[in-house]
Amino acid sequence: MNDDLQKRIQQAMADPKNLGEMADADSVGTVGNSDCGEMLRMWVKFREDGGRKIIDKASFQSFGCETAIAVASLATELIRGKTAEEALALKTEELAGELGPLPPMKIHCAQLVEGALRSALAPQTAPAPVSAPKSAPTLLDSISNLAASGGKITFLDETSA
């Protein structure tokens, strides 16, 4: 990743906008790539404006890499004042806004945001969660498998007796 992009991501991360749950949201969308340990949820609130139903505010919650959080932060700002149709028409690279073009390895972070947005605004068109072939243990595995990763329990006071 180039230094400029890293700086822009860090700037977005330093003051993320619209982070957190929205209690009075009209719509909620969730997208997750379980293999990536990555989940993103987005809340949207609408309002009427001159006969149009536009996005009044949007917020998000994420666990994952800085890029996904930075893109979500920018995207929730970008879609304010737009109708659902206008927001859905935004391309993945447009959602990343001032972050600029993302390198190939980071594009799916932005796609995650796009997926959450689609899930919130048009659930019927939201893409199915991506599931890559399994090879190495993943982040989510390391958390969710903790509860299943036991083994035979031997008390130390029995072995030393």
């Binding site: 994952g64 890499c65 982040l139 509860a147």
Partner: protein, 180 residues
């Protein structure tokens, strides 16, 4: 630390020295999160950096070490936790071990992390209520702590040394054990 980590270190060695390295790599570089961007324990750190956009190995290593230092701040000692619980009844202990381990030995008042417990914690949303993650020996709890922090919980800690340290430092009636 007995092993000096360099670019030629195997990822298994990197993870042994810095248990939160996978999380740190994922957060900043999106490496190691999934099967498509993951790495193998037998790869070297330099190798992983090389096939991920030729990342600067020294910079990546510095990031891992910096994250490790941050992880250290999340940890809370057993004695300190015992005192905290006495002064603040709202402190909740979430045990991330297996059900078998939890049923064999547990810290009084702790709850096993199950799906319902996870859903309940998530449903509460962002908050400052203290939550302490308990594992066996303090090797895995940080990942769970980071997960909760990533979901907006602002007062998450992890018991340093896990329940094994609690047995040794606070309550000897909690029997020590090994797995295998």
């Amino acid at each position: 630390m007995s092993v000096t980590i360099t670019g030629q270190s195997l990822m298994s060695e990197v993870l042994a020295a810095y248990p939160g390295a996978q999380r740190a790599l994922f957060r900043k570089y999106h490496i190691g999160g999934c099967a498509s961007c993951g790495f193998q324990p037998t790869e070297t750190l330099a190798g992983v950096c090389g096939r991920n956009g030729n990342l600067n190995v020294a910079e990546v290593l510095a990031h891992i070490q910096s994250s490790h230092e941050q992880d250290e701040k999340i940890l809370i000692g057993a004695k300190e936790l015992a005192q905290w619980r006495q002064s603040d009844a709202s402190v909740r202990l979430v045990d991330v071990r297996s059900r078998e381990e939890f049923e064999a030995v547990r810290i009084e008042g702790s709850v096993l992390l199950s799906q319902p417990v996870m859903q309940q914690i998530m449903a509460e949303g962002a908050n400052t209520r203290p939550l302490v993650v308990v594992d066996h020996k303090g090797k895995h709890g940080l990942d769970a702590a980071a997960y909760f922090m990533g979901h907006g919980l602002q007062n998450v800690r992890c018991l340093r040394g896990g329940i094994d340290a609690w047995s040794q430092e606070v309550d000897a009636t909690v029997r020590r054990y090994k797995l295998g």
